[in-house]
Symmetry: C2
Subunit: 328 residues, 2 copies
C-alpha cells in the first residue's frame, strides 16, 4: 500500500465509473475535491479495459496531487449495477459489455497497490449528499438520480441501506402502471419508462413538434441545435427555466409521475424526505414541487406532513466525493 | 410488576387488538400458546373502551394460566396503525373510532401493572413467522397479510424493519396503476384497491353472477349462503380449492396483481423472499405461484432467481404469538 499526499491532510481517491465517462479525483475528509480527471469510458470493450482505465485514472490523480504532504487512505469506486457486500462482486452494470460478475475492489487493488472499496454509483452519490450536500441535516432520505435513467439510493441513519443482497434503492424501477410501456429492465410501467431521458425527450419533441410555427423559434429547438432528438433532461430543464411552455408542461408531468413512485417507496420504507440529483437537479423549483404535491396526495396519512422533496447540491462531483468517502 | 406462571417456564401475554376481535393468550418462549381469549372488539367506542377490553383480556389470560408456576415477562400488543418507536404512540389505526394518537404501552401498563410493549399488528405477525413459522429459515423476508385489507411488514436480519417513523412495510399501499380505482387510504391504484376483500368479492360476485344458470348451483353461492356480498377471501380460497372456476380466475389475477406490487418492493428493498399470511394463506398453491411468476417477470435481473413466495404457517394466532415475542 502506498501513501500519497494532498494539501497536508488525509484524503482518498474517488473513482466514478460510468457508461459514458470515468471521473476521478482526490477528496479530503472535508469533501473538497482536487486533481480531477475525466476520461471517456470504454465500457463497450469489456471489464479488463474499464479496470485498466480506472487504474490509470487513479494514477493520474495521485501524480497530480502527490506533492502536498497528505495521506491517501485508499480508493473508493462507484459503479452502476448491484454491488454485493458479501462477496464484493459487481453484477450486471447496465450498458457495460461482457460484464456478468467482476471483483472490482480486488482487481483494482491488484492494479494500484492500494486499498479499494466499491459501491453502487447511486449509493455513492447519495452518501456524498448525506455527508456534504443536501442531506447533511437528514439522518434518513431517499436519493434519486434522475438523468439518462432513474437511479436511487436509500440513506438510513446516515448510512447506505443496501438491502441483504446490496441491490436496494432502485427507485427508477418502481411500477406506476402495471400495463404501462416496456422498460429497458424487462418490466413495464416503471417510472423510468415515463421520465428517463429517452421518454422525456420524445414527449417534449412531440409537444414542440406538434406546433410547427412555434417550433421554429422555440427555446427548445435552439437548445437542441435544431435537432429535437438530442434533447436531454438538462436541456429541457434549461428551457423550462427560460419559460418554455412545452418544457414546463413535460417536467411538471414528469415530476408528478416520479411522485407516484416515491409515494409507494415512502409507504414501504417510511422515509418521507427525498433529495433529487442527476441532470434534472438543475431544473426549476416547480419540478420538485410537482413531485412533492403528488407524493403528499398519495402517501398514507401519517406521512403527509413529513413529505419533502429538494434538489441535490453536489452536481456531477457527487459520485467522486461519495466514492472517496467510502474510505473515511 | 406482577409475576404470573404458565407450565413452569417463562412466558409473555400477547394481545392482538383488531377492529373486529381482540385476541390474547399466554405464549412461551418456544412459541406455544395457551389460555387464549377472544372477544369482539368495541373499536367503535373509542380508545378508552379498547384499552379497557385489552386489560380485561390480559387479566383473563393470567387467571386462566396462573397455576402453572412460570414467570410472565410482560405484555406485548399488536395493533393496526403506525406505532412510533420514538414516543410509543399508536397513530390513526384504521377502523378505530376517535383515535388520533394513543400511548397504548403506557395506558395498558397503568391498567395491568405489567411491562408492556406495542407494535404494529402486521409487524407482530411477521415477527411470529420469523421466529416460529414460515420464516424460520430466512433472515430477511417481506411479510404480507392479505385479508380484509393488505398489510405487511419487513423482516431484515431477523428483526422488524420499522423505518425511521415506525410506519414501514405498508405493502398494500404500493401503487400498481397511477390512474387506478380509489383506495380507502386516499391514493388511487393501490394494490389493496384491487385485491382487498371488498374488491375481490365484488369481482367474484360479478363473475359468478354473470353466468345465471351456473350461479345457482355454484360452490361459491353455497359457501356464501346464497348472498355473494358476504364473500370473503377465505371463502373464495375454499371455493378455488374445490375447483370453482370463477374463484380460481379471480385469485390468479389477484395473485399476479400482488406480484406487481411486490416487484416494486423488491427493487426498492432487495428482499426477494415473500411470505403471505392472512385469510388468503389458506388458498391453493396457484395463488402464490401467480404472485411469484409475476414478480419474477418484473423484478430487476439480479433478483430473478431469488424470488420466492410461500404461505405463512401460523394462521390466526400469529398476531398473539408475535406480540408476546416482543418481550422475549
Amino acid at each position: 500500500m502506498s501513501a500519497q499526499t494532498v494539501g497536508g491532510g488525509t484524503f482518498a481517491v474517488g473513482v466514478d465509473i460510468g457508461g459514458t465517462t470515468i471521473k476521478a479525483g482526490a477528496v479530503t475528509t472535508g469533501g473538497v475535491v482536487s486533481g480531477e480527471v475525466v476520461v471517456p469510458s470504454r465500457a463497450e470493450e469489456g471489464p479488463e479495459e474499464v479496470l485498466s482505465q480506472a487504474a490509470g485514472a487513479v494514477r493520474s490523480v495521485l501524480s497530480a496531487t502527490g506533492g502536498g504532504g497528505g495521506t491517501c487512505t485508499g480508493v473508493g469506486v462507484g459503479i452502476p449495477g448491484i454491488v454485493s457486500t458479501a462477496d464484493g462482486l459487481v453484477r450486471y452494470p447496465p450498458n457495460f459489455q461482457d460484464w456478468a460478475e467482476v471483483d472490482v475492489s480486488g482487481e483494482l487493488a491488484r492494479r494500484t497497490g492500494m486499498r479499494v472499496r466499491t459501491e453502487n454509483d447511486a449509493n455513492t452519490a447519495a452518501l456524498a449528499e448525506a455527508k456534504f450536500g443536501a442531506g447533511v441535516n437528514h439522518r434518513d432520505f431517499v436519493f434519486v438520480i434522475w438523468g439518462t435513467g432513474v437511479g436511487g439510493g436509500l440513506i438510513l441513519d446516515g448510512k447506505i441501506f443496501r438491502g441483504p443482497g446490496g441491490g436496494a434503492g432502485e427507485i427508477g424501477h418502481v411500477t406506476i402502471d402495471r400495463q404501462g410501456p416496456p422498460c429497458n429492465c424487462g418490466n413495464r410501467g416503471c417510472v423510468e419508462a415515463y421520465i428517463g431521458q429517452k421518454y422525456l425527450s420524445q414527449r417534449t419533441a412531440k409537444l414542440v413538434g406538434g406546433k410547427d410555427a412555434a417550433a421554429e423559434g422555440s427555446v427548445m429547438m435552439k437548445l437542441a441545435g435544431g435537432d429535437l432528438s438530442t434533447l436531454d433532461p438538462a436541456m429541457i430543464s434549461r428551457a423550462a427555466e427560460l419559460g418554455d411552455e412545452a418544457a414546463t408542461r413535460v417536467l411538471t408531468e414528469a415530476g408528478a409521475m416520479l411522485g407516484v413512485a416515491l409515494a409507494s417507496v415512502v409507504n414501504v420504507v417510511d422515509i418521507p424526505t427525498v433529495i433529487i440529483g442527476g441532470g434534472i437537479s438543475a431544473a426549476p423549483e416547480f419540478v420538485f414541487r410537482a413531485a412533492a404535491d403528488e407524493m403528499r396526495a398519495r402517501v398514507l396519512r401519517p406521512h403527509r406532513d413529513a413529505v419533502s422533496v429538494s434538489r441535490a447540491l453536489l452536481g456531477n462531483t457527487a459520485g467522486v466525493i461519495g466514492a472517496a468517502s467510502l474510505l473515511f
